[in-house]
């Protein structure tokens, strides 16, 4: 159902564009329009933006500082080192509060009631809602930085070696081989102590290592696309190498890049989780979603709510990123709308089966 609707809409929209006989549309305009008509992608983008805003505005965030707990000389209470920007939620993610309601969630839907600790509390009395929100912030930061950084490096390395070949290719690919063989966990172990649980530095580190797979795919794509005649046509028209790479070839390689990047971003969340689990990632008192799950793994039977929310948010982030990626890929590929939907295909094969059996009899 959701499959057929947006394609039909897109087709209808395409018709009106053509009929209007508007002045020329550039590729950028068309891609933007097509993306905005991809319902799944737009909804996902909305959800992702909502999650981001909600996570950052609710418990606020910390800018700079070491992220460790220090005692505030004025009040005598423990606070996080750095500039603390407060949010609208009353609790924070590092203070132990008196246990209310035995630690169970106070959130009820009928009647609707939020209560003091809507997602419950852990054994020490920390507010799970605040922890999940802070964790979401950290995980999003890691995902976005890893995604952006490794995509940029991967595209640049892959494009340059695939387009120029010869010594540039040799050099860059050998360098890629070197990066590939670095065991991530060992590197994490070595640098983890220096970084000391800072999510941004950790993400940059991961981003600097996670690109080789993408670079190889982009290189392969460029190697085949550079032989196509439209590249020669552009060259004869006087296009520079940079223009050919970024304006001509890259849009044709977008499918591969987006599939790989969405996988990479989802993998970044898990990678951060495993590093945290080993004690090299984001460390207490700071939290990440992965860390919450691993920290509470023993409590799975007794306090399942400690898993529900972080799990739900990890899944939502991964899903929305995938949907947005889908939408982008479809928007870049002008052929997409022509695809036969699964429903029509099923119908077609059913009719074929019935007619051919009739023919035999």
């Amino acid at each position: 159902m959701t499959n057929t609707k947006p394609t039909a809409d897109a087709a209808a929209n395409e018709m009106t564009i053509e009929q209007r006989e508007t002045a020329g549309l550039s590729q950028g305009t068309i891609v933007r329009r097509r993306f905005l008509h991809h319902r799944g992608a737009v909804v996902s983008l909305g959800v992702l933006i909502f999650i981001t805003l909600f996570a950052f505005s609710s418990v606020g965030t910390v800018v700079g500082g070491s992220g460790r707990l220090v005692v505030d000389p004025d009040t005598g209470r423990q606070v996080v080192d750095g500039i603390r920007l407060a949010g609208w939620w009353w609790a924070d993610w590092y203070t132990n509060y008196p246990i209310v309601n035995g630690g169970s969630p106070t959130l009820t839907l009928f009647p609707f009631h939020i209560g003091e600790h809507p997602f419950g509390q852990d054994t020490l009395g920390k507010d799970v809602f605040a922890r999940v929100m802070r964790g979401t912030q950290q995980s999003l930061t890691v995902t976005v930085i890893v995604g952006v950084l490794s995509t940029i490096i991967g595209i640049l390395v892959g494009a340059i070696s695939g387009y120029f070949r010869r010594w540039a290719d040799q050099l860059l690919m050998r360098f890629t081989d070197v990066i590939i063989i670095i065991p991530l966990l060992v590197l994490g172990a070595v640098l983890g102590r220096t970084i000391g649980g800072n999510a941004i530095l950790l993400a940059i580190l991961l981003g600097l290592i996670a690109w080789p797979g993408l670079a190889r795919l982009v290189r392969a794509e460029f190697l085949s696309l550079r032989e196509r005649e439209f590249v020669d046509a552009a060259r004869v028209a006087g296009a520079s190498d940079a223009r050919i790479i970024f304006r001509h070839i890259l849009p044709n390689a977008v499918g591969v890049i987006i599939v790989n990047t969405t996988l990479l971003m989802s993998a970044a969340i898990l990678l951060e989780t495993s590093l945290s689990f080993l004690g090299f990632g984001i460390k207490s008192p700071d939290v990440s979603l992965g860390q919450i799950i691993t920290e509470y793994q023993e409590a799975f039977k007794t306090r399942p709510w400690l898993f529900w929310w972080p799990g739900l948010i990890i899944v939502s982030i991964a899903l929305t990123i995938n949907f947005i990626g889908d939408g982008l890929r479809d928007a870049f590929d002008p052929r997409q709308k022509r695809a036969l939907t699964r429903k029509a295909r099923a119908l077609a094969s059913a009719t074929v089966a019935s007619t051919s059996s009739r023919d035999v009899s």
């Binding site: 564009i17 006989e21 549309l25 006087g238 296009a239 223009r243 870049f332 052929r335 036969l340």
Partner: protein
């Protein structure tokens, strides 16, 4: 099987009411309708039509090789056995064994990682119970039968080690390995050069008389039909518009469509029109000239340098169409690419519009390219599939420094009008256009900067004959109007005769003959040119038979 034994003259294939439908966007769209024909042993039936006319699909339907969203209707009986709607088991026994297919492109139809011999043995062992040694002997026999010069060597070769013609022979050897009753040849010579095509057609003729199998020849080339076919069917939009013996159809085409189709085939007129080259004044400077031009592909690793063009000397004057003809690998495309600076020239002299291109700097090259345009062979790959065509056409303008978007828009619209496409096509993507329309876009782009020299690299070889005729007309019209010099690269002598003022013939990297069209085509001096011209099949069965006999005598 018993039928063939009892009655050798009984028809091999009886097709009645055959139709093919495809499920597209929620309804059945008919790709072919109501085809009726019978085929006796030793007969060659040609199915002729333009792309999309259903000629291939209807034949593949006989083999049950339709895509998932297709269905076949009607009946096709192979020696009494119904094939339409037969189960997979039956069809699998028929395929390769009793009906064999020769595909258009032998490079893709043969598996590149196995030797030719292995692939033939495999085909033999699937359908017969020969031992490996017996199959090997038989495979060598087959390779000899298709007249490969060194069967043993071919047996041990991989597909890429053979030339195009040899690969097609190997393909044929594989398809006749089980003595099929019926051979379906789907455009068997389209990917080949004329001289090689003539050889393959001879081979097919010899083989089918020797094996007494019937052939369904699917093609768009009237010359090939005239050369080989006994009967023919003309198809248009899935409908059989005309059928009869080849002689009948060629001599007295009844339907207007067939007449058009025959008329659209560019042919070498027996006696050309009066020489149209205007007397040139001595003062006019050639806009493109080369002197002893050498083009080399530099050596890479262990592959030695390859000299693609040697000692080429040519002049093209403003307003003139010079055609460069030759077979694949003769270096004609290389010259075209060197002229636009896509391939560096090694030595000699190549000047475009007064500027020397040998050892040119990047900056100068960019300047020179403003007076150059190129139309590529394959309109499917020469337009960026992710760009609306308006943007593709406007790109040369933008790159030449035109900042004002309105000026670019205006020019793009003018250009679309020039190539007779509606203005609102500018927001369409290449895949939404037909082949002919795409090539028009390619021409519009090449003309965007009002070039002094246009290089057209086989601009119509990927198009159907009637579309080709229209695109050539258009090109000729624009050329007369704008008077740019054209380097027209082609392997099709008929097209060249239609268009060119002068012709240069290339063979193995050298220009062997240059002269006016009628000189070169009607009174060729060089033996290679003579051979090339005599290999072109004439779209007339009788004339073609005469020529064939002449060739075999000579």
């Amino acid at each position: 099987m018993s039928t063939t034994a009892t009655d050798p003259a009984a028809p091999i294939l009886e097709v009645s009411g055959l139709g093919v439908d495809f499920w597209v966007d929620g309804e059945w769209v008919s790709a072919a309708r109501n085809m009726d024909y019978t085929l006796s042993p030793g007969e060659v039936l040609a199915i002729v039509g333009e792309s999309g006319s259903g000629k291939s699909t209807s034949s593949m339907a006989i083999l049950g090789l339709l895509p998932d969203n297709g269905r076949a209707l009607g009946s096709a009986k192979l020696v009494g056995q119904e094939l339409i709607g037969a189960d997979l088991q039956t069809l699998r026994k028929v395929r390769g064994n009793r009906i064999a297919v020769i595909f258009q492109e032998p490079m893709t139809a043969l598996n590149p990682v196995y030797t030719i011999g292995f692939q033939i043995i495999e085909a033999l062992q699937v359908h017969t119970n020969l031992s490996k040694a017996q199959a090997r002997v038989r495979a060598l026999e087959l390779l000899e039968m298709v007249e490969l010069p060194d069967p043993q060597k071919a047996f041990d070769s991989y597909p890429h080690q053979l030339s195009g013609g040899q690969r097609q022979r190997a393909m044929i050897a594989q398809s006749i390995s089980c003595d099929p009753l019926l051979l379906i040849a789907d455009e068997p010579t389209t990917a080949l050069d004329v001289t090689v095509q003539a050889e393959i057609l001879d081979l097919l003729r010899n083989l089918h008389t020797r094996l007494n199998s019937a052939i369904i020849l699917i093609t768009h080339d009237m010359g090939v039909v005239a050369d080989l076919a006994d009967k023919m069917i003309v198809m248009k939009d899935g409908e059989v518009v005309e059928s009869g013996t080849a002689m009948q159809v060629f001599r007295e085409p009844k339907v207007p469509y067939t007449q058009e189709l025959l008329a659209a085939v560019p042919k070498l007129a027996a006696e050309g029109p009066a020489v149209s080259v205007a007397q040139r004044e001595a003062a006019v400077q050639p806009v493109l000239s080369m002197r002893d031009l050498v083009i080399e592909y530099p050596k890479r690793g262990r592959v030695p340098a390859f000299r693609a063009v040697e000692g080429a000397t040519l002049d093209i004057y403003p307003g003139e169409v010079l055609a460069l003809v030759g077979e694949s690998g003769s270096g004609k495309t290389t010259i075209g690419r060197a002229v636009v600076g896509l391939v560096p020239s090694h030595s000699g002299e190549l000047s475009v519009d007064g500027k020397n291109m040998v050892g040119i700097s990047r900056g100068d090259l960019r300047e020179v390219r403003k007076s150059l345009g190129i139309v590529f062979q394959d309109p499917g790959s020469s337009l960026n599939p992710r760009w609306p065509i308006g943007q593709s056409i406007g790109e040369p303008l933008v790159l030449a420094g035109e900042k004002d978007q309105k000026v670019v828009d205006k020019r793009v619209e003018d250009l679309l009008e020039l190539v007779q496409l509606p203005r609102n096509y500018r927001n369409r993507f290449p895949h939404e256009l037909s082949g002919g329309q795409r090539q028009r876009v390619g021409i519009a782009r090449a003309l965007a900067l009002k070039p002094r020299v246009l290089v057209a690299d086989e601009p119509t070889s990927a198009l159907d004959v009637s579309v080709q005729a229209r695109v050539l007309d258009l090109l000729q019209e624009i050329q007369r109007e704008q008077q740019f010099a054209t380097l027209f690269i082609s392997h099709d002598l008929g097209v060249v005769d239609l268009l060119a003022d002068r012709i240069a013939v290339m063979h193995r990297g050298r220009i062997v003959e240059v002269g006016t069209s009628s000189e070169v085509l009607r009174h060729p001096k060089d033996p290679y040119t003579q051979r090339l011209i005599s290999a072109v099949p004439l779209p007339d069965p009788e004339a073609q038979r005469e020529r064939r006999e002449q060739r075999s005598r000579g």
